[in-house]
Subunit: 323 residues, 2 copies
């Protein structure tokens, strides 16, 4: 890319996101300089989106910009941290001003909403690949981890997992849904996922373990269980499938999407029984959409109880539901 | 990539680099948790290498691993910070264990040497692209910037710029050098650049402005001048061209490489005359290879004085030296 193109690109990213008083040097020098608050730990996350692997070729630039930051915000939320500063490594095949404008506007909107300022980055020419790095802030010793869950803890999930996988299937023409409004809701859940930043912060001191659901609820629950050294029992009937999804594909298939779909960017977490009261109070005070789906148990593995039988999660997926 | 391949890959990166006591949660959770020291600022940098753009297709994996971290270490050095924690976003076209072993070994060697621990990352499948993010630590208010230089300040550069560009030309078959030892020295300067971490830290409180030389000395000096609001005069005869380079291509062409080549990852910095004594003392005490090449002047632009005339830097390069 010509030098002047890099300079033009830099303009799109020079004040992207929220105003932050703790940034002393931002985009434009060899590095950014930020001032971490005293007595806090930092949470560092990075995630890459590759065209054709993490989003379909030709996805809207606004969706790509949103998702590149959302997937990282979700990781920060899963750690119980507040997001603060972002770096963007953007590899693009060509200089396309309209694309850059849409990408950066959507990214900026999401960053502002979550209090994040883009403080640096790198623009390179190549196959479309976006890596965002986020730094978040958390009080000492309270970051949520995948480990820490114990047998008996209640398992919760935010939002309505499965929507995003169905939305991607719609985008790719692998799924057809008659109802246009349901189809749009599902597509938007893939294109513009909602990171659960506020819920993540509220879970500090309440959740015993937490992971963000990016590869599918069942698989990610398996990871939480492995890290925590226990197993899980999930009640299929309790899975919070959305009306859009169950209306579009039926309740049974909706549950399969919820268990094995990916790209949800919801939080999956466990709460000790002793803190269930506090958890219910938080929900009553408006914590947000959280649903109890089961319990951690002694042993290992993830079992799902449904009308018709029990299924064992197999790593790649579940056996089909008995109907 | 199959899930098990991702798990195998994670093993290569689970303890890469130096031991650090300030890392509470490392590779393997949704994010890393690190403990910044009190009363310090953080420096955040990120740089991407794309195959075919930043290194030739088929470059040795060890070189790619080294360079991916070196270019970021160089940015941290240019800010006068100490590197601490790294994140690696690695996009690879296929699972290749030998490649991963060589890549991670070279990256680990360099990180250990510079006190850096890899604390997280993301592995994805796609065209070979490597983004490293580094966080460094610096006392409050002393980070070096591109701005801050003033007319009269002496201009210094570390090492011998130009070697790396010649090394790349050799790698690409655009340059032929009869002397095999010189050719190897130059190739190695491209393949395994030396980040100037210790010099960067030593320049705190001494340098008035600093930038790392990644796009060519002339162009990067122009950026320092633009940020500092002044111009520069460079003495071509003072440029520290290496014996390997001048022996290989002659002194005049060597100076052109030094001024317009790229990928040097040397530090270019300015020192006020009042601190030149301290600077010379630091050099005498073993600061490392630094050479004065000119002075900042009032006005703007970069002029190079050589036997035969004065050249004005044009953004893309210099006019040829008169011979």
């Amino acid at each position: 890319m010509a030098q002047s193109e890099f300079e033009l690109i830099a303009r799109y990213f020079s004040r992207l996101g929220a105003d932050r008083m703790d940034v002393r040097i931002s985009v434009g020098d060899d590095g950014a300089v930020v001032m971490p608050p005293p007595s806090r730990e930092l949470v560092l996350v990075t995630d890459t989106l590759v065209e054709g692997a993490h989003f379909p070729v030709g996805s809207p630039a606004a969706s790509i910009g949103h998702r590149a930051f959302a997937v990282n915000l979700s990781d920060i939320a899963a750690m119980g941290a507040e997001p603060a500063w972002a770096l963007l490594a953007l590899t693009i095949p060509r200089y396309d001003e309209a694309w850059l404008a849409q990408f950066s506007r959507a990214a900026g909107d999401l960053c502002r909403k979550h209090g994040v300022l883009l403080v640096g980055g790198d623009t390179t020419r190549g196959p479309l690949t976006i890596t965002v790095t986020l730094a978040g802030i958390v009080p000492v010793g309270v970051a949520l981890e995948r480990k820490g869950g114990q047998a008996g803890d209640a398992i919760f999930v935010t939002g309505s997992p499965g929507d995003s996988a169905a939305g991607l299937a719609l985008e790719q023409g692998r799924l057809h849904v008659a109802d246009a409004m349901s189809a749009q809701i599902l597509r938007d859940r893939f294109l513009f996922p909602t990171p659960r930043s506020e819920i993540g912060v509220a879970l500090r001191g309440m959740a015993s373990a937490c992971i963000d659901v990016s590869d599918g609820l069942g698989g990610d629950l398996e990871k939480l269980c492995a890290a925590s050294g226990c197993g899980a029992e999930v009640d299929a009937a309790a899975l919070p499938v959305s009306e859009a999804l169950s209306g579009a594909v039926g309740r049974e298939l909706a549950r399969e999407y919820a268990l094995t779909g990916g790209d949800d960017y919801e939080l999956l977490f466990t709460v000790p029984l002793a803190r269930l009261g506090a958890m219910n109070n938080a929900v009553a005070r408006g914590l947000g959409p959280v649903t109890r789906i089961g319990s951690l148990v002694a042993g290992g593995g993830v079992r799902v109880f449904a009308r018709g039988g029990v299924m064992q999660f197999s790593g790649a997926g579940f056996d089909h539901f008995a109907r």
